[in-house]
Point group: C2
Chain length 116, copies 2
DNA sequence: TTGATAATTAGCCATATGGCTAAATAATGT
DNA sequence: ACATTATTTAGCCATATGGCTAATTATCAA
């Protein structure tokens, strides 16, 4: 893995498009050829190919060509950096919330004792 | 939440930039004003402000202005759609791998019995 | 060999993105 | 009132993105 930040850039960018997410969702069930994959989308093939290229360059899918047919497959391990970053952040963000909660609770009790 | 897909588009797009991820990482520790937040980045303030706007429009941060100072804070709940999508996919992707494993194992045993 | 099929390349177009400087606003401090 | 500080707006620029059509290439099938 050359550069973690660049990887995150590319993977997040690839995921920031509904067409591409739908491609991933379909590939999650089974590998598929380019034209099978493209069929449901209301888009010219060259436009669709650009999306596949983004997905492949991000590492989210891998493809191989046999004869004139290219088959695309999901690359499960490619989700890991994103999962790691997101869950890492989630942890810090919510611990911040916990501390905030604790602070507010402490203040509330302090006010309670001040009452009367 | 008006449109789940549009939300994912915006949040993933906001996360696809290291400057913006660093902003989030710093805000995860504590709320901060715009200029405090901007200080470590080698970038003109107006450029930096654009990043903050992207983060705010995606819902990842919230800001409020008091006097002439704008304070930024992380919005912990905004990570949920991303976590949901990613962990949902992870589940399907790896169950596909499991099935693939099973298939390969089955083939391997079949070949074993064929041997000799 | 000829035609159909699958994918790819080339090139065009509009809009978005990410950077900048210079100027404008809006509060605050003296 | 005046200067300082904290943003904000306006406008410029280069490159990237996401769409298209038309033309090419490569393979397969009759």
């Amino acid at each position: 893995m050359a550069n973690y930040q660049a990887t995150l850039d590319h993977v997040f960018h690839a995921l920031a498009d509904n067409t591409r997410r739908q491609v991933l969702e379909r590939l999650a069930r089974a590998p598929m050829t380019v034209s099978e994959l493209a069929r449901p989308f209301d888009m010219a093939l060259p436009s669709f190919l650009q999306h596949l290229k983004v997905l492949e360059e991000s590492g989210l899918i891998v493809t191989r060509k046999e004869g004139r047919v290219r088959t695309c497959e999901i690359n499960a391990s490619s989700l890991t950096p994103v999962e790691d970053w997101v869950s890492g952040q989630r942890e810090v963000w919510s611990s911040r919330l916990d501390r905030l909660d604790a602070l507010l609770m402490a203040r509330a009790s302090a006010e309670d004792s001040e009452e009367i």
